[in-house]
Amino acid sequence: MSAKDIPKPTNDTLVEMYRRMHRIRLFEHKALEHCTERLNRGPLHLYVGEEGTAVGACLALSKGDFITSTHRGHGHCIAMGGDVKMMMAEIIGRATGYCKGKGGSMHIADLDLGIMGANGIVGGGIPIAVGAGIAMDNKNKKNVILCFFGDGASNTAAFHESLNMASIWKLPVIFLCENNLYGISGCAKDTLNICDVAERSKSYGIPGVIVDGNDVFDVYGAVKNARERAISGEGPTLIESKTYRWLGHWHADPCRYREESEVEEWKKKCPIKRLGEHLVSEGVLTKEQLGTIEKEVIREIEEIEEFALNSPFPNPEEALEDVYV
């Protein structure tokens, strides 16, 4: 495919991407602070370092498209325009959270924004994406479902059944594997017998595309192409985004399975830094303007923290509600 066949984001989109990546990174670091202050319960699975994938992909979608997400879902939700106040409140279990404190970090959902939910089961969202694809197919809507999952999930039975089913019925699903090289400690080179998850696309007769997850252009272009293919009735695509999480699997992960030197190598490929350099070198924004965006996001995160910390806990009796409609 030639360079001119790859769809490119507009400058406005690029600036928004820069802002959202900052928002993700700062949000995640703020959430991490809360863990150490014991404001949230349970583990947090932080997206720091992978921002390029969520933002490059989600900003290639259109209104009416949906995503399914994972346990590492804050990045996806913020990339889709999720309300960070309600996200932070949910993470610290307040009544003003997205799910009224019922779901927690791994289950944030907002149907109006196209977020079908983060999910605490590895591979749990992949069959759900098939269902979403059927809904779109049956309603004859020109929309897609973007299904995030990781290298670990690509080994599940759910992955196999879902890609097969979406392929035979040509469902409008974009399967996007974020290969960050590790499950928890299971290194992809030990848990897969192949190097590239994208190779598995051959088993389903669908295209397999590898992208640099830290290059928003690469991710955006691949998702845009996959979207075109899906809405023209040609079926799903498997995209593999090569990326890396800078922090552990969960916030207190001792990370015995990897070397600091590997982390440092990947930090050099920071998606935010790369996009910032591009925006300046192409004359889209000045360095000062980049700084302004960062300051605005810092202020935003401080405001949401205040909102969340001042929010009440839900009434204990609410635990018994919403089991059934």
Partner: protein, 321 residues
């Protein structure tokens, strides 16, 4: 009134739903040309087309996932698990997703899906094709559990299941498909959480599930000849469970027999007995249930394991001593 069999009653409820509501569609193995292995979807593929009648590969996880995802986006899927034994393959999607997403989303997501399946022993299909697993699903909050025992009940309950906003585990029984009964031509609803007293009596209460309802009615006829009048209660849905009807009956008779093909230990009968005791109702109690074994193949072995009218009669007589 005309009499039709249980399969036809299921067929009619599905046909009505597919005809009247565009959002309804089916996913399952062999539901297309084959019309489902019992004939419950016969002719549907021709009439409604491959997008409404999706004949699936052998992929239980994806079948349930297709129901979860499509229902969140406003569809009304009625998917099929051919044997309840195979539901165990998809327990992740049923228990961790379907039953929980409404709650975990703080009530935002609605999952109006139906999982149709069939259970039970007595056809010599042995251990992996004869289980009765309703207790597994009754134990999980967030999913309704329906066990229709007659053609009349199955048609009305299936309509209600499809219209319900919650996930429903709709459990038919392989030995019931050929049973016949009076069924109205028009469509009608039977509400969830309303038990049916299928026979009134004053001497002993028999609460039975699914096909065991027929065994209980047969036992009641035998007992009647000896002057023992049994009250047979069919809960029809065990989630929600109409325990009030059961309580009223046991207060009257003082004797409770619970019958199900599912294994005795931790079967749903244990829940019914526990509730009666907690309610403070004095009663002599006996569970007539499947023995705690996998289902054997050979007929004398299978008969030894399964409840029957004879075993119910024997239990009733013991309670009356």
């Amino acid at each position: 009134m005309r009499k039709i069999n249980y399969t036809k009653a299921v067929w009619e409820a599905l046909h009505d739903a597919l005809t009247n509501d565009d959002r309804v569609f089916l996913v399952g193995e062999d539901i297309g040309v084959q019309g489902n292995i019992f004939g419950a979807t016969y002719g549907f593929l021709d009439e409604f087309g491959p997008k409404r009648v999706r004949n699936s590969p052998i992929s239980e996880i994806a079948i349930i996932g297709s129901a979860v995802g499509s229902s969140i986006l406003g569809m009304r899927p009625v998917v099929e698990i051919m044997y309840i034994d195979f539901a165990t393959i998809a327990m992740g999607q049923i228990v961790n997703q379907a039953a929980k997403l409404h709650y975990m989303s703080g009530g935002k997501f609605k999952l109006p899906l139906v999982i149709r399946t069939q259970e039970g022993g007595g056809t010599g299909e042995a251990a992996q094709h004869s289980q009765s697993l309703e207790a597994f699903f009754a134990h999980v909050p967030g999913i309704r559990v329906v066990l229709p025992a007659t053609p009349y009940d199955v048609k009305g309950l299936l309509k209600t299941a499809i219209e319900d906003e919650n996930p429903v585990m709709f459990i038919e029984h392989k030995l019931l498909y050929t049973t016949k009964g009076e069924v109205p031509e028009e469509s009608y609803n039977i509400p969830f959480g309303v038990a049916d007293v299928k026979r009134e009596g004053k001497d002993v209460t028999i609460v039975a599930l699914s096909k065991s309802v027929l065994d209980a009615l047969e036992a009641a006829e035998v007992l009647s000849k000896d002057g023992i009048e049994a009250e047979v209660i069919d809960p029809r849905t065990i989630d929600p469970l109409d325990d009030k009807t059961i309580f009223d009956s046991v207060r009257k008779t003082g004797r409770l027999i619970v019958v199900h093909q599912a294994c005795r230990t931790a079967g749903f009968g244990a829940e019914i007995v526990a509730r009666v005791i907690e309610e403070g109702i004095p009663a002599k109690v006996k569970r007539v249930a499947g023995e705690d074994t996998p289902m054997p193949y050979s007929k004398p072995l299978e008969d030894r394991v399964l409840p029957s009218a004879e075993k119910i009669v024997e239990a009733a007589k013991r309670l009356l001593k």
